[in-house]
């Protein structure tokens, strides 16, 4: 079974080891029309408990030769349907042109993410978690197909090979298609861990194959949750309490119900929804309501108050995540450099606004939604509707942007509370304004870093992270002894070699906002703080920032290698115009080794123009190199958007930002050339979906310093500090 040993590779405690058994693998159904399903349970829970394994788990081969892979992880743009299908197809030796995929239903025993212990698409973990198990699945089925063919041809299995969904007997030239073998297949002679291909024999893994999900995304045919249209569906939109913890006092709906197309007004404790024949009626109806709210205890909360509380908390001693040597003593005298860094609350702003369609009946509920956490989606609907979980059916959809927002199920719970008041199916769609104002925001963080350097080498390092602990809410088992395993991810395991290191975490939960997973999660904050700080340390001793980093990476050759490559590929030493600069950032987050250089210009008014981004990546074995490059390109832009524009602020308990006019997203005219270089590697795969986002913010910040001489300590960029007259 896969073990992830790379620094930083496992964010969360892994689930118990999974394994296959012959009984579990081959308890299939036979003789059913044209389709015989080979069942490949991933997790052993159901089998170990002696439960029957439900129909098909990962691989279905039909007599026609069509092959369907059931993909445990959801597609939200990261290309996982294609990548995991490639992994299965590789060891199965499947005919790639006949491969199709299905979303997996909720079933943690079969489809649980082995790294995270639950059916979760997040933490850049999908390939890391499933690379070995799905190869084993493909290999076991391939062996059983060979053995079936050997019986049929009366030859030794050793005389047979497979290619493109056929078993081939070279000696006689005979070939049997997989589809013709399905009724002859029996349990393979191999017990558990089948032999896997050597990477040099890969025919599919490592090739830039075309994605399976994209053709339908060019013609309007792809279906996202928001596109669900069950027969008879009505449409609703909602107003949530503008202050978290507030309540509805009263609602005057006289004007709303008089509007054509308005069918119903649903008033709950903290939300009001209008149901209509179409979204326009619902929206007009909502605008026509007169709602009186009680703001509750958070009506006076402002950003200033939240920052005051967080900054005060950062002076407390934190829970200790790491304590090598004696950092306190080493930092108690001599020249110590200390800097504080801050990251703001951020909204996800997925292009597909939050939505959920439900048909709540007495005998069960159907739910149409795209979710990163399908088991919890089912469970919250069961809870709200007081139905057993078996009566809740989740129709999983493509996701129009997840970025961690759809790892929470608050929106599904809210929609279910509304839908149970409505007769028949109803689609509930958040307006963009409700989506942004009721996000589970990326936490605000305050980091304090101190370092001492002697002879141009770091001798002591202290890093204290202060912020919300998402794990304490989301998965209390991941929050232990005051330490948020995510909040310190990337800080505890800082790659730079220093003899005295202390890393602490202070938990401080903000009032008036919910916090949640946001692309890049904990490493986002820590890579920003560490990579900004180490740049300042390097400058303080007049050493080139790349040189300084490399000098402290003797034990991390993969990170050193990407730094050396990015130095070359970014033309690091080439002269630039006066108003331009380059900045670097290096990271090991999610088990991938990445170095990034951002080049930008800062004009006299403090405005920033991005000129070029270069990122060099060692992500271990890569399934689909084109997808990895695309994820880097997009992730870098996601991070640059945050660095240049992203901040959620509050006043009177209310979120200021509401839509793309005041929560800005980078647009095509602002995006520069982005070059991504992959270093070939035989190491186990690293995560990739979030890495670009964590890479770009510090590199941008360091480029701004190089261009303007202004060292920024909080994001997003405050242009007033960069204007010529303001520079010190």
């Amino acid at each position: 079974m896969m073990t992830v040993s790379e620094r930083n590779a496992v964010v969360f405690p892994p689930a118990p080891t999974t394994r296959f058994t012959r009984r579990g693998l081959f308890s299939w159904t036979t003789g059913a029309a044209l389709c015989v399903a080979l069942q490949l349970p991933l997790a052993s829970r159901a089998i170990a408990q002696g439960q029957p394994v439900p129909a098909s788990a990962f691989i279905k081969i039909e007599r026609s030769g069509a092959i369907t892979f059931v993909i445990p992880q959801v597609e939200m743009g990261q290309g996982i349907y294609t990548a995991l299908a490639m992994v299965l197809a590789e060891e199965l030796d499947a005919d790639w042109s006949r491969v199709q995929i299905e979303h997996a239903p909720p079933n943690a025993a079969l489809y649980g993410n082995p790294l995270l212990g639950e059916q979760i698409t997040g933490g850049s973990s999908s390939v890391r978690a499933f690379f070995v198990p799905l190869r084993q699945a493909g290999a076991l089925v391939r062996i059983s197909l060979i053995e079936a063919a050997a019986r049929q041809l009366k030859v030794s299995p050793a005389m047979l090979r497979t290619e493109s969904s056929e078993v081939i007997h070279d000696a006689s030239g005979r070939r049997i298609a997989y589809g013709d073998l399905i009724s002859l297949v029996a349990a393979p002679s191999v017990e558990a861990a089948p032999p896997l291909k050597s990477p040099k024999d890969f025919r599919i893994i490592g090739k830039p194959l075309k994605r399976l999900d994209t053709p339908d995304k060019t013609n309007g045919a792809a279906k996202y949750g928001i596109d669900a249209l069950p027969p008879g569906v009505k449409f609703a939109t909602l107003a949530l309490t503008p202050v978290l913890g507030g309540k509805v006092v009263r609602v005057d709906d006289r004007n709303a119900v008089a509007l054509p197309g308005v069918r119903q007004v649903v008033v709950l404790e903290d939300v009001v929804a209008v149901v209509g024949d179409h979204m326009w009626a619902a929206k007009r109806g909502l605008e026509a309501l007169n709602i009186e709210w009680d703001d509750g205890p958070n009506g006076g909360v402002s950003s200033a108050l939240i920052w005051d509380k967080l900054r005060a908390a950062s002076h407390r001693d934190g829970a200790v995540a790491r304590d090598d040597g004696d950092a306190a003593r080493a930092l108690s005298d001599g020249d110590v450099l200390t800097r504080e860094f801050e990251m703001p609350f951020l909204a996800h702003a997925c292009m597909e606004p939050l939505n959920c369609t439900l048909d709540v009946r007495q005998d069960g509920t159907d739910v149409w939604v795209g979710t990163q956490i399908i088991g919890r989606a089912r469970d919250i609907v069961a809870k709200v509707t007081a139905l057993p979980v078996e009566r809740v059916r989740i129709h999983q959809h493509l996701i129009g942007g997840g970025f961690g927002r759809r790892l929470d199920v608050d929106m599904i719970g809210t929609a279910a509370r509304i839908a149970r008041q409505v007769d028949g199916p109803v689609k509930i769609v958040w307006s963009r304004e409700e989506d942004i104002r009721n996000d589970y925001y990326r936490p605000a963080y305050h980091d304090i870093l101190s370092a001492k350097v002697a002879d141009k080498r770091l001798v002591a390092w202290k890093h204290k992270v202060s912020g919300a602990a998402i794990t304490a809410r989301f998965a209390p088992g991941w929050f232990k002894d005051g330490l948020d395993s995510d909040g310190i991810d990337g800080a505890k395991d800082v790659a730079y070699e220093v003899p005295n290191v202390r890393v602490e975490f202070v938990r401080e939960e903000p009032p008036a906002v919910m916090t949640g997973w946001w692309r890049g999660v904990g490493p986002n904050n820590n890579v920003f703080a560490i990579e900004s700080f180490i740049d300042e340390v390097a400058h303080s001793v007049a050493v080139d920032p790349i040189e300084f980093r490399i000098a402290h990476l003797g034990k991390t050759p993969r990170l050193r290698a990407v730094l050396e490559l990015v130095r070359e590929k970014s033309d690091w030493s080439a002269p630039l115009p006066d108003d331009c600069g380059r900045g670097v950032a290096a990271q090991t987050a999610f088990g991938s080794f990445i170095a990034t250089v951002v080049e930008c210009a800062v004009n006299d008014f403090g405005e920033i123009a991005l000129r070029r981004v270069t990122s060099c990546v060692d992500a271990g074995i890569v399934i689909n190199p084109d997808t990895v490059i695309a994820q880097l390109q997009g992730g870098l832009i996601y991070g640059l958007t945050a660095g240049l524009y992203g901040e959620i602020t509050l006043e009177n308990g209310r979120v200021h930002q509401s839509n793309f006019n005041n929560y800005r997203i980078l647009r095509i005219n602002e995006v520069p050339r982005i070059d991504v270089h992959l270093i070939p590697s035989a190491d186990p795969p690293g995560g990739i979906g979030e890495t670009g986002t964590t890479a770009s913010i510090a590199a941008l910040r360091n480029a701004i310093y190089d261009a303007s001489g202004v060292a920024l300590h909080r994001m997003p960029v405050d242009r007033s500090l960069l204007a010529k007259g303001a520079r010190s």
């Binding site: 013609n219 309007g220 870098l636």
Partner: protein, 152 residues
């Protein structure tokens, strides 16, 4: 009642005069390829063509369409430029989550019909109204150039 022509089909629709075309398409006609993103013409996800010109259907009342023909993503493959753009999008594997891409493709087809060989500045001007949260902009630009070169 409004008489409209959508993707070449003439139809009568009985909807409120102020209803944006977006909701007519999605909720009444059940053509869900056109996407809702912001509702205030800031993101371009809802872009359709009115007589070939790109418009944001989330702020386009049905009553203002008049006799102009509406074209949506569902019918864009009926145009040579549409097919070329779709092919370039797939050749260069532009798409990630794909939610904004109906709008990106509609904006691009309108650009190329008007200006078969756009410069970077032309592309910026025509596409800056279309947000992609996945950040596929680098490939969108390449794909526009690919589609444009293919039509040379």
């Amino acid at each position: 009642m409004f008489a409209l022509t959508i993707n070449g089909t003439a139809m009568q629709v009985d909807v409120p005069a102020d209803m944006p075309v977006l909701w007519l398409l999605r909720d009444v006609l059940q053509m869900t390829g056109t996407k809702f993103g912001c509702g205030i013409a800031q993101c371009g996800a809802c872009t359709v063509h009115l007589d070939g010109r790109p418009v944001r259907s989330c702020v386009l009342p049905v009553s203002s369409v008049g006799d102009r023909a509406i074209t949506t993503i569902e019918a864009i493959a009926e145009q040579p430029t549409g097919r070329k753009v779709q092919a370039a999008w797939l050749d260069l594997e532009v798409i990630q989550c794909g939610y904004c891409q109906s709008g990106q493709i509609m904006a691009t087809v309108a650009l190329l019909n008007d200006n078969p060989h756009p410069t970077d500045e032309d592309i910026n001007a025509a596409l800056a109204g279309n947000i992609c949260r996945c950040g596929t902009y680098v490939r969108i630009r390449e794909a526009i150039k690919r589609a444009s070169a293919g039509g040379a």
